[in-house]
Amino acid sequence: MKIFWRILDVLVGGIFIYAGALKALDPVQFANMIDNYKTLPWFVGVRLAFYLPWLEIVCGLTVIFQFLYRGGLSILTALIAVFIGATVAAEMRGLDITCGCFGHASQHWSFPQHMVFDLAILIALVLLWSRPKLLHQRQAIHLHNDKKD
């Protein structure tokens, strides 16, 4: 059973590392995609374009290698919520642009395809949140240690 959770960790972490790496390779292209939404000024968007991919990579790593796990999981959950929001917003505004969330790979995805993928990741993250014993045990041990200081 433990192997199931580990596989999920690696899958989810891996997807975010892959997505982050694709964007980190061409931050200017990502900045242009953010700019396409015309929601953020370029000044903000370009800096976000440099930062977000690394956040994805770092958090993906924490999930795979299980350090700072809860923090990483929280941020990734927040990120997938943002991606879902961006995809829905684009669809509602009738924009024919791609989310850019998963780089070139997702460029030709339709709205339903995007949503299915995003929701699958969200479900995986929710599952990881409700991961039994192992994490809670670790928490209990750490809390116990904290109290000792």
């Binding site: 370029w42 370009v46 800096r47 440099f50 930062y51 956040l55 770092v58 923090g71 990483g72």
Partner: protein, 146 residues
């Protein structure tokens, strides 16, 4: 337990900033940080004039503003009548020319939008934006008649 997630999260947010800043510094000359046009695409009035016949001037302002006054020899190309005006502009272009687009001042977006469309749709190369726009050109070429 929730606080642990927050603490870890904040640490990760700070941690991720390191490679991000590193990449930003590494690419700092290749990125336009203030506006969506890379600075290398801006040319001054003097530079554009130095190119002489190698320059094709493109006026991105409205029809009325163009009719009122424009750089001699400039072609009107705006988004109100893009298709029609592009049709008239292209026969005058050749790959050796440098296209200099201007709108009323540096702050207006029309020149950037026109330059982007010329690059994206018509796939032209060597497209530049006039620094300071029409305002700057007038300052350097015309004495204001009081």
């Amino acid at each position: 337990m929730k606080f642990r997630a927050v603490r870890e999260g904040l640490l990760l947010i700070a941690l991720a900033a390191l490679p991000a800043i590193g990449e930003g510094l590494y690419l700092r000359d290749k990125v336009s940080w203030q506006s969506s046009i890379p600075p290398s695409e801006l040319v001054t009035v003097d530079q554009a004039k130095a190119w002489g016949d190698g320059t094709i001037w493109v006026d991105a302002r409205s029809d009325e503003e163009f009719a009122n006054d424009h750089v001699p020899g400039a072609f009107s190309l705006n988004e109100d009548h893009w298709n029609e005006l592009l049709l008239q502009f292209l026969p005058n272009w050749s790959p050796d020319k440098k296209v200099v687009v201007y709108c009323s001042a540096e702050s207006c977006n029309a020149a950037r939008d026109v330059a982007k469309r010329l690059g994206d749709e018509a796939r032209l190369k060597d497209i530049f934006i006039l620094q300071g726009g029409w305002e700057e050109w007038v300052k350097k070429n015309r004495r204001e008649v009081e």
